[in-house]
Symmetry: C3
């Protein structure tokens, strides 16, 4: 029984300018993460969630969402195991009556020790919450570090007329394998049999390589930090050859725009992908890889479409249920989920970060690793979990 | 593969005068522990039990109980996996015939190597056993350290006219969380809905805090070592208030004696609680938290009542089956078992001992930790398990 | 997360002249191991196997068997999870199209990056394969270290007229406990109730001890390295006595030859036992304990009989199915499998190698440990698994 380092120190010595990314096995602290849809938390209800290795209690009080560490200060038990909410604003620990205020985390009272010197002097950890586009975001970090939500979502996501629909599920891989699977231009090879192609005319090369100028790092002071990859500046490959023989072909319908199903992707801190014109022109896929613990992330998949009338909104909602959810988020992305989970064992002991053998188009992934190491606002550590 | 310390060394550096208690994750060596009821081991029968991380074989021979390490000296296999008992006094290992005498542990013979230099010169570990009040006690320690059983049980437990009945079950928490749950004056908050209150008139404050003079350390040279907590010298709280509003009330029937259901508790080395006048005046609950391994203890629950006639004994046995076992040992204490198991994860990595945030009434628990560190006769270590 | 040593360093310091054997927890590298029967791999088929902790892909191409590491160089995924074999000689990784040639391991192509500088310049690990006596052998080691198969099988196994039949199954113990169980003259105690004795007249002492001259180390430069134990030079014990009373007797039918069911055994690197005249004179049992990982081995059990005519071959095949497989390999050896699995926990943390208490006849096992430490061609390490 001793404190094992979270990341293999031998590996940390071997990586160069993206060491901070390898350290961030539990995610980057001091960022906003979407953790549930607003519709999942009714007034007065409680939810237990995980985020960057911490267990949190969410409660909606008078419409506003609050997040509190789900662990009693006294002897460390989860408050949620038997939630005693005697008043709207407080939760009382079932074991010895420590009572906390949701809005501030203040230890308001110990029911049987009302005069305790601790009352009013101690706080349980709370985290700021915001709701946007139907998602509940939690700022997992320290209060004095809070940044505007707009700095942690891809450009366009907060656009007023954007209607956002989605779903989430737990994936058994580290969150970084989610980011890299999504942003990886070469991985479209796994989607070659997707049923999604029956719902539109796809350009589907077996892979494509960025040419000079395709990749741009976005690092403006007041905006989100990310890497953009423009598929119109990629060199696509349509036929796969082995020993001079064509063994696999990618379907090609639309010669006009881009080289792929999408026209470009971008990946943003703290781990969110934007896929433009996907699954169909006019729609953008935004998806988050939210760190739950070392080996799991919450895959929050959303589609956004600009809608200005009720009819447009109703049409999008309908099409989402009948087309894009079953054939896109469920069908197409099932390949991605499976690929991330199968990749996980190689990176489990951290050696994967130095034993991998990247090829030329993986330069985009390296840009992302470096950018994340430069701009991540803090590394979540084992100490943060104590 | 290397020898992990049993307890986090960083934590050991941080605790002060009860370091030995934190070290005793596997229990205190050189003490007597009850491990089964006498009625569970018939003449000639074998039982496999665990104690402080060691696997033991118990056998009753001519009425007397013997305990032997259940691991062959030769190549470490459990003798119990295929017990070959060719004579009353011996057990022969099923693998290569090493034969041990229960009374002494002597390697009496190797069946196919009768002239081995090892025969008569090696011993398997055995431990002294005694029976008292219907329980089989094992002295888990070194023979030259054996102390009288009376030094390891609470005062009164061996009284001649005391009739003792009970049960045992395995609880998934470290033994110390058992001790601390039982001796904790504030934890009665969890029992507020117990069905036991329908069988007597309970005084049940939501908690109570010891006043000066309530707590006494008992450390006489020739007796058991423990901490007594006198509830008549406690300040009880009957109404729990949040923001000026009473949110929970404790029932109060009997203003005359004590402040709680019991009139006082005491906790004794090596981990046994005495609850006076409980579940009803005239009965005493004695309960042991016997270390099995780092994360489990055997919860040995007993009730003792002074009986001098057969009729009294029969009445007590009847009342035990119909009232105190179902509503006390099963019902009431089920809350305690659950609380210990839910607390375990916080202390699993030992940081709980320094990260906890105790309040004023927990001073009784601190007294116990210090007393245990002062008087525990030895720390069970990983080396003892090899 | 850090690199735990494979073997407890404290233990390595304590063992003397067979330290290399204790280090070889994952087996000896640079040796030939049988991994499947030839009949289990048809032309064009793929098999996934484990060997010394590595996952391998086997494929038969134009009759010849090839073995390749089942882990893509790119990002470490198992190729076998979705095998894309577009041509007879290659396998393409399902994730990004890295394409490997089975015969050489060469990275022949990356389907969507045909111009990658990596193509033709990188190799995935492959291992030489040979087939003999109906078994597929893999040389788990470095190509420049390859030795003739004849140096890694017991004498006689490759004899031209020897017909070999067998089976294999996974056993949950380290491979060394397999070797030591098989070569251990004293362990026949566990077979005393075998049904095999109904199929022949067995000499079955309860154990026997080698006399001077029984044990010979075979270490000729160009042959296999092993230890032979001649049972005709053993002192058998027929009656087991405790306190002067005979408690168990071994059946004795044939006073003429040897002292046991077999007339002698030998154990050879890299972990294969030869049992002469067993299960019946005229047949030899050859059995391998092939390391799969730290805690499991593949038990490859074979019987060999000299056959020169089709009738002899057919008779042997028939007798194998009706007698020797059910009563020998299944029945008799089931005791051995069980014993190895029950012994495993004692050696799991490596302390068993120094905590065991060997007796006189175990000198044969010590000879084997020393010989293996002298002649093992390499230790498989955790680094080899990365
Ligand atoms: S553990 Fe929460 S009040 Fe004691
Ligand atoms: S392991 Fe018990 S006699 Fe060999
Ligand atoms: S992981 Fe195999 S090609 Fe990428
Ligand atoms: Fe994808
Ligand atoms: Fe209790
Ligand atoms: Fe055997
Ligand atoms: Mg902790
Ligand atoms: Mg000791
Ligand atoms: Mg051991
Ligand atoms: Mg090596
Ligand atoms: Mg690896």
């Amino acid at each position: 029984m001793s404190e094992e380092p979270l990341v293999n120190p031998e590996v940390l010595e071997m990586v160069g300018d993206w060491r901070g990314y390898v350290e961030a096995k539990l995610g980057f602290r001091n960022h906003w993460y979407p953790i549930r849809f607003s519709s999942e938390l009714n007034e007065g209800a409680l939810l237990v969630v995980e985020l960057l290795g911490e267990k949190l209690l969410l409660k909606r009080i008078d419409g506003k969402v609050y997040a509190m560490r789900d662990r009693c200060l006294h002897r460390g038990v989860p408050l949620s195991r038997k939630p005693d909410c005697y008043t709207k604003d407080t939760i009382t620990c079932w074991y010895h009556g420590y009572t906390y205020r949701f809005q501030t985390g203040e230890l308001a009272n110990i029911l049987a020790v009302p005069d305790s010197r601790l009352c009013g002097r101690r706080k349980i950890q709370t985290y700021p919450c915001e709701e946007a586009k139907g998602l509940i975001f939690v700022f997992l970090g320290d209060e004095h570090e809070v940044h505007p939500l707009s700095k942690d979502v891809p450009p366009g996501f907060l656009d007023e007329d954007l209607m956002v629909l989605g779903k989430h599920r737990v994936v058994d891989s580290n969150w970084r394998l989610g980011c890299e699977n999504g942003f990886d231009a070469l991985h479209i090879f796994i989607h070659k049999d997707s049923t999604l192609r029956h719902f539109r005319e796809f350009n589907f090369p077996i892979g494509h390589t960025p040419l000079p100028g395709a990749v741009t790092c976005i690092e403006e002071e007041d905006g989100p930090k990310g890497v953009e990859d423009d598929f119109s500046k990629h060199h696509p490959i349509w036929d796969g050859e082995i020993d001079g023989q064509i063994v696999v072909k990618g379907p090609k319908f639309d010669p006009k725009k881009g080289t792929s199903a999408s026209i470009g992707t971008s990946i943003w801190l703290p781990g969110v992908l934007k896929v433009e014109s996907f699954p169909v022109p006019g729609i953008t896929q935004f998806e988050w890889y939210v760190p739950l613990d070392e080996g799991r992330h919450l895959y929050v998949q959303t589609l956004g479409q600009a809608c200005t009338t009720d009819e447009e909104r109703s049409d999008f909602a309908n099409k989402f249920e009948t087309h894009w959810k079953p054939h896109g988020l469920d069908g197409f992305n099932a390949d991605d989920i499976w690929a991330r989970e199968v990749t996980q064992p190689f990176y489990d002991d951290d050696y994967g970060w130095v034993d991998e053998m990247l090829c030329e188009p993986d330069s985009t992934i390296l840009e992302w690793r470096r950018l994340a190491a430069r701009h991540g606002r803090g590394i979540q550590t084992k100490k943060d979990l104590r």
